[in-house]
């Protein structure tokens, strides 16, 4: 058995258009490394250079947000289903948002996650 991974539209260019792919790994980190070996570039869209999950990508294991399961260290089992969704976010560009954005960009680089 393997782990089923649901790929959002914006990342299907890495999977040859496939909506669902399979992979394996004991943790989310291992799974993303495994997927990247067949779908080169996918991992970089989800993980920052500092080695953390991008802020504006949501990853779920079964019905749980991985942020509550240890993020990249989240444990996986055969038969689990992993879903990746680009977070839906935005808003008027006020001063508070500008400050928050500057911080997000520094930490996560959402422009590259969401827009390319």
């Amino acid at each position: 058995m393997a782990i089923e991974v649901r790929i959002p539209t914006i990342l299907r260019s890495y999977t040859g258009g496939a909506k669902v792919v399979e992979g394996s790994g004991d943790t989310l980190n291992d799974l993303l490394t495994d997927l990247d070996s067949r779908h080169g570039g996918l991992r970089d869209r989800l993980v920052t250079e500092a080695g953390a999950l991008h802020r504006f990508v949501n990853v779920y294991v079964n019905d749980e947000d991985v942020r509550f399961l240890g993020a990249l260290d989240a444990k996986l089992n055969d038969g689990d289903s992993v879903t990746i969704l680009p977070a839906v976010a935005g808003g008027a560009f006020g001063f508070a948002a500008a400050a928050a954005m500057a911080q997000h960009v520094a930490v996560a680089g959402p422009a590259r996650v969401a827009a390319s």
């Binding site: 504006f56 947000d65 942020r67 839906v88 508070a96 969401a114």
Partner: protein, 162 residues
């Protein structure tokens, strides 16, 4: 061009007015490949902010699964700007992650004026598109079309004359 029923537009505007001065957000789902928005799903703004919106991650998963089960996709993703014009901010452009969707913006800055504009946001490039509002029960050849220029200049937009 976004074609959308008047009843859905009314529901979106009502949602935006209800949540004002916080930003409101949501989705209109429709059959995959149809480009036709049919099912309005108001979403929670997890940020509860006047300048930022973000779908609640668990509600997002639930709604996207439900669309998948019903062979639907997000045709329209909407949110409101509550003090500025209905034009995508840099934040909106950075985070736009659904290249197939129409990004609909509603401004609630004027209590009596309905300001709605629609955009495609692909690879960080914003393209405004006309919005065609379909009035049920009206001669289909008499639909109203609103054409907008491509510049981000303010557009006053009166929809009261039905």
């Amino acid at each position: 061009m976004l074609s959308i029923d008047r009843s859905i537009v009314d529901a979106i505007v009502a949602h935006a007015r209800r949540d004002h001065p916080d930003e409101a957000c949501g989705v209109v789902a429709g059959p995959v490949g149809s480009d036709t928005p049919t099912r309005h799903i108001p979403m929670e703004n997890a940020a509860r902010s006047m300048t930022f919106y973000e779908f609640d991650s668990m509600e997002h998963l639930r709604v996207w699964r439900e669309m998948d089960d019903r062979d639907e996709e997000p045709i329209v993703i909407y949110h409101s700007h509550t003090a500025t014009e209905a034009y995508p901010s840099r934040t909106d452009i950075s985070f736009a992650g659904e290249p197939g969707a129409h990004y609909l913006l509603v401004s609630t800055r004027e209590p009596d004026t309905e300001e709605i504009r629609s955009f495609r946001i692909v690879d960080g490039v914003v393209t405004e598109e006309p919005v065609r509002i379909l009035d049920a029960g009206v001669d289909p050849h008499a639909v109203q079309s609103y054409m907008f220029g491509q510049s981000p200049a303010t557009v006053d937009y009166e929809c009261s004359g039905r």
